[in-house]
């Protein structure tokens, strides 16, 4: 639905060049919620603004719903008619809502319809319908200043949907909201994604946003996409920073002569009582050092760190059993006491430290 290829954006100011996007290839499939996560300055904002060409990419192409937008751009800084028409089919919600304070809630939602040249009757019918959809039917005549942050964002979403878009871009839509409101806005986005088959591309710096609604995610650092894929794919990728940030597991071996394993659950295997089966079948004591299991995109996924008595060589058979159950197993070699709680998104700054302290060794390599 949205494809960017080789997207590059270089800002020039006073002779200095800043590369905000450095060859970004992104593919968002129809009907999915795709999250781009990264720290501020990673280029997420430039990326989403390049998708509807609010920001003109320096090079590369953007295709939305089969239409190459970069080809419509024209030469001047102003958007031509074709690009403006294409933009009207892409909804966008903003971090600071960007509602017109001079207009009522209903008039704000009607604004895109005015631009599309719809009749007054049609505009008000559509606006009220959308306000009902986002749960603000009673606030139609209120002014934005009279609403709470969450309500303002609902209006922003209703407005973004006015032109019946197939694609919704969300530029940090929940970053200015408190956790509870964030959850309700995310739930709304999720509902809209399901009900209307809306494709959502969102950027965020909050891992929880990705965790709660995204089908796929990409991690951006210094203008590049470092990792991307569906959440399940990411989990299956050994050493994936996104997966370990989404499902942080930590915990040290309780002593020498122990085997520490990271088990990744995806889909159905998460519902099987594998750990108790393992304990019963091989009559071994298993300690759970840490676990992070959640429902992502309707599927149960997660990771668990367990400890088995004995060295790796003694546990080849139980590990084989786990693998037979369709689980992804990684052996954790504890070289030194691992620092705790380093797998927050902020820890991306120092991935070297992360790797040195607990080396993940892919099983197949042995």
């Amino acid at each position: 639905m949205i494809t960017t290829s080789g997207l590059t954006k270089v800002y020039r100011s006073r002779g200095r060049e800043v590369t905000a996007l450095d060859g970004v290839d992104l593919h968002v499939r129809e009907g999915e919620v795709y999250g781009v996560i990264g720290q501020s300055g990673a280029g997420k904002s430039s990326l989403i603004r390049c998708v509807n060409l609010l920001e003109r990419p320096t090079s590369g192409t953007v295709t939305v719903a089969g239409q190459d937008l970069t080809a419509l751009a024209g030469r001047g800084p102003r958007a031509g008619r074709e690009l403006r028409q294409a933009r009207s089919r892409i909804g966008m919600v903003f971090q600071h809502f960007n509602l017109l304070s001079s207009r009522t809630v209903q008039d704000n939602v009607e604004l895109p319809l005015e631009i599309l040249g719809r009749s007054g009757k049609e505009r008000s019918r559509k606006a009220l319908e959308l306000l009902d959809l986002v749960g603000l039917a009673d606030k139609a005549k209120a002014y934005p200043a009279q609403l709470s942050g969450g309500q303002k964002q609902r209006v922003g979403i209703a407005r973004a949907l006015a032109g019946d878009p197939k694609v919704l871009l969300s530029d940090e839509a929940t970053s200015a909201l408190d956790p509870e409101t964030t959850r309700s806005i995310l739930a709304l986005l999720r509902d809209l994604n399901r009900q209307l088959g809306l494709t959502v591309l969102l950027i965020t710096h909050e891992m929880d946003v990705v965790k709660s609604i995204c089908d796929s995610a990409a991690l951006m650092e210094h203008g590049r996409v470092v990792e991307s894929g569906t959440v399940t794919e990411l989990l299956a990728t050994p050493g994936s920073e996104l997966a370990s940030a989404l499902f942080p597991v930590a915990g040290d071996a309780s002593g020498d002569n122990r085997t520490v394993l990271d088990i990744t659950f995806q889909g159905e295997s998460a519902t099987q009582p594998v750990i108790s089966q393992l304990a019963r079948t091989y009559n071994i004591d298993i300690s759970i050092l840490g676990a992070a299991i959640d429902t992502v995109g309707g599927l149960q996924v997660g990771r668990m760190r367990i400890e088995l008595p004995g060295r790796y060589e003694d546990n080849v058979v139980p590990i084989g059993f786990l693998r037979e159950q369709g689980l992804h197993i990684e052996t954790v070699e504890q070289t030194q006491p691992a620092p705790q709680a380093h797998q927050t998104p902020q820890a991306h700054q120092a991935p070297q430290v992360d790797r040195a302290s607990s080396v993940l060794v892919k099983e197949e390599a042995k």
Partner: protein, 249 residues
């Protein structure tokens, strides 16, 4: 000088001031608004970025702003004659007043429009709006409370300018105060004229402030003055502060 002698003079002067200031305000707003918007649009990073147009317009506005009104009036005499056929009287005074008011108002418009959050412009761009849509539906409506305040300032400035228009026989309240009060030592009439001017300007300021405020949809109940709201807001704020202190203690 008795009141019965003063009354017709005052009525005549008020009427002349109204004609001069009314027309020149209308013209200043009608032409100053597009010029002010143009200054914002053509500025660096603007929607119609064009440094040549921006610099030329900016310079013209600066020259218009920096010229003392009395000199502007004299300099424009031939232009005034070309437009109105005369250089004497209230109608003739409207021309230099309007020419002085346009750049004055244009600068105020520029400041007001520049205050509009760029995010709103971006939102409308993202909806597929063109530049005209942005000007008409975002920049002007969102800046409207400030624009109303700018119009008030312009009217008050033009009333001040109009006093000088007396030198070309424009008449008006300012002229009355100078000719009768200052030159003929009719102190009584001078003070009355000054009082009338003070009342007129206060009324205009009050009306302008009221209009600007009622257009400002700031939430809460509308129409209640900012001072009143400040007093209301203060009370709960202090109670929560003390409550917090209590908790901390």
């Amino acid at each position: 000088m008795t009141w019965s002698q003063m009354q017709p003079l005052l009525e005549q002067a008020c009427w002349e001031t109204l004609i001069m200031v009314g027309w020149s305000t209308l013209i200043s707003v009608a032409l100053g608004l597009p010029i002010g918007v143009l200054l914002v649009l053509t500025d660096k990073g603007g929607l119609l970025q064009n440094s040549l147009v921006n610099k030329v317009t900016g310079q013209i506005v600066n020259v218009g702003r920096s010229m003392p009104f009395i000199i502007l009036m004299v300099a424009l005499m031939s232009f005034t004659r070309w437009i109105t056929g005369t250089t004497i009287g209230s109608e003739a005074a409207i021309v230099p007043l309007a020419i002085g008011g346009i750049p004055f108002f244009a600068r105020l418009v520029e400041t007001a429009v520049r205050e509009v959050d760029h995010g709103l412009v971006e939102a409308v761009q993202a909806m597929g709006g063109n530049t005209w849509t942005i000007v008409r539906r975002v920049l002007v409506p969102e800046a409207l409370p400030s624009l109303i305040a700018s119009i008030t300032t312009t009217i008050v400035a033009l009333i001040g300018y109009s006093a000088m228009a007396g030198t070309v026989g424009g008449g008006g309240l300012g002229d009355l105060a100078v000719r009768y009060g200052y030159q003929r030592f009719e102190t009584g009439l001078m003070w009355i004229t000054v009082a009338v001017l003070a009342v007129v300007i206060s009324l205009i300021q009050f009306a302008g402030d009221y209009a600007a405020r009622s257009l400002h949809h700031r939430g809460g109940r509308q129409g209640s003055g900012p001072r009143l709201r400040l007093l209301k807001a203060k009370e709960p704020a202090t109670t929560t502060a003390t409550a917090d202190l209590g908790k901390a203690g």
